[in-house]
Amino acid sequence: MSKFKKSSSTSNDIPTAALPDIIFMLLFFFMVTTVMRETDILVKQQLPRATQLTKIERKSLVSYIYIGEPKNPNLYGTEPRIQTNDVFIEPTDIIQFVNQEKDKLSEVERDQITMSLKGDIEIKMGIVSDVQQQLREANARKVLYSSIKRLDD
């Protein structure tokens, strides 16, 4: 009898000492798997939707060009603009931008550079075509039209 009495007197709290460790594990998981947003996007970005998407295998080879209407029309007007890194550029500056991006890569990888074109759905083909002409000049011929998976079918 005394045996039972003893066991009933012990506290039956769930030990929570391991909880921080579990949370830290989750924290590290998110820290490792997510990428910090490097640039402030100054243009509207509603990406087009498509079904036949290709995934980029090597992120280090990708550079981004954002095209869209500026989010702040008082400062930058309403005409679609091209943004790379943190600044608006003119189409003619793209060659310089591509060369900068190519310099970051090793010699053998320079031909494989992929330009990810993040275009807003409202922009016209004129500006996209201007960008593509410059990319041809700069010999960065792999272009990815960044889009979101369409779910309706």
């Binding site: 924290l27 498509a50 083909m125 010999n139 011929r141 039209y145 889009s147």
Partner: protein, 210 residues
């Protein structure tokens, strides 16, 4: 009094540790974005050589499937105004590519390598002599206007890609989803990929907008 105090083990309370970690966790969840690097991959043509005039392409008109888009986002497909949906466009392109109207030697070889489901698809469409000779010759040409919206451009490009991907998937005996997720870095999957594309190249010509 002093004795009872001494007996209590000196312990730092770690109960709030979880809260601190939670705060950090939520901070990282909010400030980071999972990058979505997906899209339609194209290859631009090399820059024109000023010393050499552009090569003159001699192709029979029936081997070219021409899609034109104007600044009002209206399509002109094979010289006729097009009102249908993108799904119908995909189906039309598929019929055009797999027409085998007058296949050459290589065309016959490609035809013979197709699975029976595709063969019956080809024959049920009647092999129109006015349409493409074989998939090697067939070219889909797409030209947009400077005023065409990017959205329409992407959806037409997507429809053309879809037509080819459906053919490849059918040829490899996969669903389109499986086809798109093939990992080209693995040899076995790369072989399936190469086999399905053999002879039916994705001949898409994207003209410069005017």
């Amino acid at each position: 009094m002093a004795r009872s105090k001494n007996r209590k083990p000196a312990e730092v309370s770690s109960g709030s540790m979880a809260d601190i970690a939670f705060l950090l966790l939520i901070f990282f969840l909010v400030t980071t974005t999972i990058a979505n690097d997906k899209g339609i991959l194209i290859s631009l043509p090399p820059k024109p050589d000023p010393n050499e005039p552009p090569p003159v392409v001699e192709k029979n008109d029936k081997n070219i499937y021409a899609i034109l888009a104007n600044s009002q986002d209206k399509l002109l497909v094979e010289s006729e105004p097009y009102e249908g949906t993108m799904e119908e466009l995909t189906e039309d392109i598929k019929k055009f590519v797999l027409n085998f109207g007058k296949p050459g030697e290589e065309g016959v070889a490609v035809y013979n390598s197709l699975p029976s489901s595709l063969k019956s698809y080809i024959n049920s469409n009647g092999r129109n002599p006015e349409s493409s000779d074989d998939p090697i010759e067939a070219v889909v040409s797409f030209k947009a206007n400077r005023g065409t919206t990017y959205e329409l451009y992407i959806s037409v490009l997507d429809a053309v890609y879809k037509a080819y991907d459906e053919i490849y998937a059918e040829r490899a005996g996969l669903t389109v989803e499986e086809w798109l997720t093939l990992d080209k870095s693995k040899d076995a999957q790369k072989e399936i990929y190469a086999q399905a594309r053999e002879g039916i190249g994705r001949n898409i010509s994207i003209a410069e907008p005017n």
